[in-house]
């Protein structure tokens, strides 16, 4: 029973982190049609910056607050100068460009902070463990489990009920029409990209106390978030939520129950979805 | 109808969700007759072509080609059977040369799709055949040019040449004169008439330009809001009050 509960909670906490990152990826894809290979690197940057702030100021909350906006600023530069020139071109080139950016950032992180792994401790109030049945469970992970859905709901409210949210959704559905009614699409794209980057970096900062911070973080998470987005449906929030949860559980239960196959499970699921329902669980007919 | 029908459509309907694009259309095209399909915007002409050419399946009803039921036949097999289609929005191979654009359907036509051991002699034969087809549509001396550099009118000629490469029995021409100036339009009309008279191919043309339709069609079918409104000779159609109403009396009078 304890093992089961631990697996559930682990699946949930990892799933919520994945959800945060995938939300950014799926929004960028839904509105701009760009699949950002460098998204995982932005996540990783968020983690590293948080770690750096902890070193400088000693406060996790400062890192959480200041790190992601910095990454967002970087992403604005990326979008404006590197990605924008490619919008008319073949989708493959956009993918290749973000692939190049990923290589650059992943190694850049190594250059600045070295190749070693670092540990970031959770802030005082969220550290330690609480008793759960006859075992103990880290408080921080519970925090993640609660935070994830909260952020998700906040974003859902934003997209469903606020003016900006509606504009974004409209632009996602029909770019040309949005332009005709006066939406400045290039500016919108930059804003969406920055938003996606902010979310990714936020996920990274939150992930820092959850797992060790190291240069391979980005590479690992980008594939998992790709899978989440594809399974859930490109551009869909509920899809990202469900997809992230599925992957989180595959991760936790898979490692316990079928360790040899566990690594392949997300890819198997990805393939099944792509071949039977390519638009994803919640995706719309392309 | 006096001769054998090459294309026959029975109670054809096609819906997209709640929208019914084609309702219970029945018609037959006689072999060798240059026929035309007309109708106001949104009448369902392109949908009709899409269903007949295998892109969509009928929601109900059937399509017969030379007596065979092709309602569920996939597109690529229809081409092998002799049913080809051209496109309103030019749909050619941009980064290939003029010659390569024609060679492609030729290669498929001669069943050499997977030929690796392409003997030089065979290739020369194919190239010659491609040149002949280009000559027939009036595009000579441009074989090595990249098709993307051609003038619009010439691209439309490639559009037709691709179809002719497969020596089709039936060709669905979707607005062949779309976007053309009067001179190019006349050229196209003459070309289609010539091809229709001199070859075994049956041409079924859909057009917006009434002048084009009335100058070459032997039989006209009128679609309106998905249903077949009328069919007959050009004179009969011109005199048809319902057809006039459907067009709000505009473009038909202009064709006089």
């Amino acid at each position: 029973m304890e093992g089961f509960l631990a697996n559930v909670l682990n699946g949930l906490s990892w799933g919520m982190l994945l959800f945060l990152i995938s939300m950014g990826l799926t929004t960028v894809f839904g509105v701009m049609g760009v699949l950002n290979f460098a998204h995982g690197s932005l996540f990783m940057l968020g983690a590293y910056l948080c770690m750096q702030f902890v070193r400088w100021v000693g406060s996790f909350w400062v890192g959480l607050l200041l790190g992601p906006p910095l990454v967002a600023v970087l992403s604005v530069l990326l979008e404006r100068f590197l990605l924008r020139p490619l919008y008319g071109r073949d989708v493959s080139f956009q993918l290749l460009l973000t692939f190049g950016v990923m290589l650059f950032l992943d190694d850049g992180v190594r250059l600045i902070w070295g190749a070693a792994y670092h540990v970031v401790n959770p802030p005082q109030i969220l550290s330690g463990v609480i008793p759960l049945f006859s075992q103990t469970y880290p408080v921080y992970r519970l925090f993640l489990v609660i935070l994830g859905p909260l952020v998700g709901i906040a974003l859902w409210v934003f997209f469903a009920f606020t003016r900006w949210g509606k504009i974004l959704r409209a632009a996602a559905m029909d770019r040309q029409m949005a332009e005709i009614v006066g939406v400045r699409v290039p500016l919108l794209f930059t804003a969406v990209f920055a938003f996606g980057a902010w979310l990714a970096a936020l996920g990274g900062a939150l992930a820092a106390p959850h797992q060790s911070v190291g240069p391979a973080m980005g590479e690992r998470i980008i594939i998992e978030s790709f899978i989440v987005v594809v399974i859930g449906g490109m551009g869909s929030f509920p899809g990202a939520f469900v997809g992230a949860l599925i992957l989180g559980f595959l991760n936790s239960f898979g490692t316990t129950l079928m360790p040899d196959v566990q690594m392949a499970l997300p890819y198997i699921l990805l393939s099944v979805v792509l071949l039977t329902r390519p638009r994803g669980i919640f995706g719309e007919e392309g | 109808m006096s001769g054998p029908s090459i294309l026959e459509v029975r109670n054809l309907s096609r819906s997209f969700g709640k929208f019914q694009a084609l309702r219970d259309v029945s018609l037959a095209i006689e072999k060798g007759r240059l026929c035309a399909l007309i109708g106001p915007n949104g009448a369902g002409k392109t949908t009709f072509y899409n269903v007949v050419s295998g892109r969509y399946r009928p929601t109900s009803g059937r399509v017969f080609f030379e007596g065979q039921d092709i309602s569920r036949t996939p597109t690529h097999r229809l081409a092998a059977m002799g049913l080809l289609r051209s496109f309103q929005v030019t749909n050619i191979f941009p980064a290939l040369t003029v010659l390569e654009n024609i060679l492609t359907p030729l290669v498929v036509h001669h069943g050499r799709s997977y030929a690796f051991i392409g003997a030089i002699r065979k290739r020369r034969e194919l190239a010659e055949e491609a040149e002949q087809i280009l000559q027939r549509v009036g595009l000579t001396g441009q074989s090595q040019r990249m098709v993307s550099t051609l003038a619009y009118g010439d691209k439309r000629l490639i559009e037709i040449a691709i179809v002719l490469a497969r020596r089709p029995q039936l060709v669905l021409l979707d607005e062949p004169t779309a976007g053309m100036n009067p001179e190019e339009t006349d050229r196209m009309i003459r070309l289609i008439q010539e091809l229709s008279q001199k070859s075994d191919t049956t041409f079924f043309v859909t057009e917006h330009d009434m002048k084009v339709v009335f100058s070459m069609a032997e039989r006209i079918f009128v679609l309106n809001q998905g249903s077949l409104l009328a069919e007959g000779t050009p004179a009969e159609i011109r005199a048809n009050a319902e057809v006039k109403r459907a067009y709000l009396g505009g473009s038909l009078d202009a064709a006089r």
Partner: protein, 322 residues
């Protein structure tokens, strides 16, 4: 110059002659680098059959590359002690894998194709990484001996890098000739047409899926041969050879050299290795440079180094492909 454009095979002959002479001119180290370049060229060119010619971006070609390596090593470990048998096993095994996987992948387009190939490639990676009993797990398969090569009556030991180089050169040239055949054939024309307008290709009567699958199998088979050479050269078949990051290398080399030119990926492979050699001399963070170069290429020189160079020389159509 004009004589060259009328007979492009002269350039090919010159190139092969140069490659034959290379070991007698270069140092041992140079020969080793050249061997690596040749092997990766085969891999990258097989990738480009799909990307440049058919318009299919596959992020899973490393799966076939690595599988070929494992098939070759497994043959030497458990089967006949023959190099040709090992290479044949690699080619056949990878071809069959590509047939099975490709059957699924060609059903999808564009980005979905890229993602699915990535997925299948990683599934193969998992098999190589976890199936300890057969593949040696994360340690890979080493400890096999490379048999001597019997060629034209002579027994050549492959411990000598020069001999190994000639073996690789021989196999790679064969592979390239096969690719040349495919690309210049009517089937090659169909591939290009499919890249340009797959919709229209269906409308003129070709089965697009079959065409793509055929290309996928050829690409997989050649990647497998490349992987066999790679594994034999490095004396080990390891799971990294199947990882999507390794697929990325083929992509990089192709973009570097130019996907629109037949030999583009080979030139890209050469540039890649030279760059790596030069840059790692003064820093370990050479991926930063590679990433930056890729970004610059995609933005400013999408035709790659060779493609852009040929463009400049005013021979863009001739260089486009045979």
């Amino acid at each position: 110059m004009s004589a060259l454009s009328r007979r492009p095979w002269i350039a090919g002959l010159v190139l092969v002659a140069a490659l034959l002479a290379a070991p007698f001119v270069l140092s041992m180290y140079g020969v080793i680098i050249l061997t690596e370049i040749l092997t990766m060229s085969l891999f990258a060119m097989s990738f480009n059959l799909l990307f440049g010619y058919t318009g299919l971006l596959s992020f899973g070609q490393a799966g076939f590359f690595g599988a070929g390596g494992y098939f070759a090593v497994l043959t030497l470990l458990h089967g006949p002690q023959s190099l040709w048998a090992a290479l044949a096993a690699a080619m056949l095994g990878s071809a069959l894998l590509a047939l099975a996987i490709g059957w699924f992948c060609v059903r999808l387009d564009e980005i979905y194709f890229a993602i699915l190939t990535l997925g299948f490639g990683m599934m193969l990676f998992t098999v190589a990484h976890n199936w300890r009993s057969v593949t040696g797990g994360s340690d890979g398969l080493g400890s096999f001996s490379i048999p001597e090569l019997s060629l034209f009556g002579a027994q050549l030991t492959l411990f000598n890098p020069k001999n190994f180089y000639f073996l690789v050169l021989f196999v790679v040239v064969l592979g390239v000739l096969l690719l040349l055949r495919v690309v210049g054939s009517p089937f090659g024309l169909l591939l290009k047409a499919t890249r340009e307008n797959s919709n229209r290709v269906a409308f003129v009567g070709a089965n697009v899926r079959s065409v793509r699958l055929f290309a996928f199998v050829v690409a997989g088979a050649l990647a497998g041969v490349g992987g066999a050479l790679f594994a034999l050269f490095n004396r080990i078949a390891s799971p990294e050879m199947l990882h999507w990051a390794f697929s990325g290398k083929a992509v990089l080399m192709t973009i570097l050299g130019g996907s629109g030119v037949f030999l583009g990926p080979a030139v890209g492979a050469a540039i890649f290795f030279v760059l790596e050699h030069v840059i790692t001399a003064f820093t370990t963070n050479w991926m930063i440079f590679l990433g930056a170069i890729l970004v610059v290429l995609v933005l400013l020189f999408p035709k790659g180094v060779l493609g852009s160079a040929l463009d400049l020389a005013g021979r863009s159509r001739r260089g486009r492909n045979p």
